[in-house]
């Protein structure tokens, strides 16, 4: 790509914002246009369900870069704007303000959106998602002492909101369809641990609860109805039941899609002038010998590095081990890898101590690790996932043997 090439980035989230900054860091001199549907420049989403919700971080600290950064670095940031359609032949994107923008290279970083429940009352005021700063603002204004917050979905977002709701003084009830928490993303040991920990902090759970609707008064939610006939009273509800990729624009333009926009190891789509990164990308992960879509900040950053490197002609970044984290109360959960093709789950340490790690193994290879307040297990586990070095299960299960010795 020539130094004067115009790079257009659709989506100003963590992935899109980082790609714009990296292109400048890597020396790209041509124009960059960054198009975002939110009114504010790119910011970190993770604190929305954690530090920000508790008032420990402000809008300035959430911003990836200060607003001036974009003008100073000749990045044309267009807030409150969406891409309507993509014309690959003409290499133009039609925008919601009626204008067209031409690109030499296009980066699709349109992210994912919270999945809405197709049930009655889902449009009542007070039934919320937690995806954007505006969502978080609304939630923070609603919950507090004397209020009851119903959380629909016992995944990581739901549990983080529950912890923050308690920190803000609200009563919190979590409604989960499955019979255990984190059913899609974690093993039973972790589900049991988190449930007990949240209960100790005053959260109530309804497991195996099928939510059938929301009821309200004067357009405002007052309760959640369940299939067993009960109504759980609440002043606000947060729905956290997963996210779907915003890949319609790519689909409509005929790019190859699967569970998101299909890309290669350099984040390039089936059109060589178009890249896709972050939550919207369905990307190869060589250590697991498969392709999938991830929703995490490290994934957004990796995609941004891949696309920016490919565009400026830098060598591709070394392959990464995917990871993510969650903070709840005083618990720090760090997860490395994904539990694909696992034949054994091994717990290191005692969950009752609040400090332990769950290793997911395939033979004697570590596929993933979930570490609670255990940085050595996370850091070393992450290395073992990356270097594919076999471990002794016996030694791994013995917390008296240090992780450095286990991996030696």
């Amino acid at each position: 790509m020539s130094a004067a090439a115009h790079i257009v980035i659709l989506g100003a989230g963590h992935a899109g914002g980082t790609a714009a900054a990296l292109l400048r860091q890597y020396g790209h001199e041509g124009p960059i246009t960054l198009i975002g549907d939110e009114p504010i420049p790119p910011y970190q989403r993770p604190p929305l369900s954690k530090a920000w919700l508790k008032g420990e971080a402000d809008a300035d600290s959430l911003a990836l870069k200060p607003l001036e950064f974009y003008a100073e670095h000749n990045i044309d940031f267009r807030p409150s704007t969406t891409a309507v359609s993509l014309n690959r032949g003409a290499k133009t994107v039609a925008l919601s303000d009626g204008s067209d923008v031409a690109y030499d290279a296009l980066i699709i970083a349109t992210g994912a959106r919270a999945i809405a429940l197709p049930i009655p009352g889902a449009d009542l005021t007070g039934v919320m998602f937690l995806r954007t700063a505006a969502d978080a603002e609304q939630l923070k204004a609603t919950v507090g002492p004397g209020k009851t917050l119903a959380v629909v979905g016992g995944g990581y977002i739901g549990l983080e909101v529950a912890a923050s709701g308690r920190a803000l003084g609200a009563e919190v009830v979590v409604l989960e369809r499955e019979t255990r928490l984190l059913a899609r993303v974690a093993c039973e040991t972790l589900s049991t641990f988190f449930k007990a920990y949240h209960e100790q902090h005053g959260v109530t759970f309804e497991l195996g609860a099928s939510v059938t609707g929301f009821v309200g008064e004067n357009g405002r939610v007052t309760g959640v109805t369940l299939a067993d006939g009960r109504t759980i009273a609440c002043d606000a509800a947060v729905v956290g039941v997963g996210a779907a990729p915003n890949d319609e624009i790519a689909r409509d333009a005929g790019l190859e899609t699967a569970r998101g926009v299909v890309v290669d190891i350099e984040a390039r789509t089936s059109d060589p002038a178009i890249y896709a990164i972050g939550d919207v990308a369905h990307r190869p992960m060589p250590i697991y010998d498969r392709m999938f879509r991830m929703e995490s900040v490290p994934n957004a950053l990796e995609g941004a590095k891949q696309a920016a490197s490919a565009i400026v002609g830098r060598p591709a970044p070394a392959g990464e081990v995917p990871w993510q984290w969650s903070d709840q109360y005083d618990l720090k959960l760090q997860i490395a890898g994904y539990a694909f093709d696992v034949d054994e789950i091994l717990v290191r340490g005692d969950p009752a101590s609040g400090k332990f790690a769950v290793f997911h193994l395939r033979g004697d290879l570590v596929q993933s690790v979930e570490a609670i307040n255990s940085p050595p297990e996370f850091m070393m586990g992450k290395q073992l996932i990356g270097n594919r070095k076999p471990v002794s299960k016996q030694r791994l299960a013995d917390p008296s043997i240090s992780m450095k010795e286990v991996a030696a």
């Binding site: 860091q25 604190p47 600290s61 990464e320 940085p375 850091m379």
Partner: protein, 106 residues
Amino acid sequence: MAKITYIEHDGTEHVIDVKNGLSVMEGAVKNNIPGIDADCGGACACATCHVYVDDAWKSKTGEKSAMEESMLDFAENVEENSRLSCQIKVSDAVDGLIVRMPESQH
């Protein structure tokens, strides 16, 4: 406000005025200085904001928490003066601070 000098592994220097209350990591990231990745945004979860603190400043940058110590223990190229820059708060006391970056954060 504190003047902080960030020195990349290749010797490139960046002198930045950083607001009190931010972390040394945030001062670098918000000014698009290469070499401090800070993948987790300051949650002390990733050890990708590793820096070396010049000896003269070691006492003024505070003590490492157990979490920071533990994360650093498994980072690459760790030295006695290694810190995670997300855990160093900027105040008048660190005006003039010099930090150097490792070759890589990953």
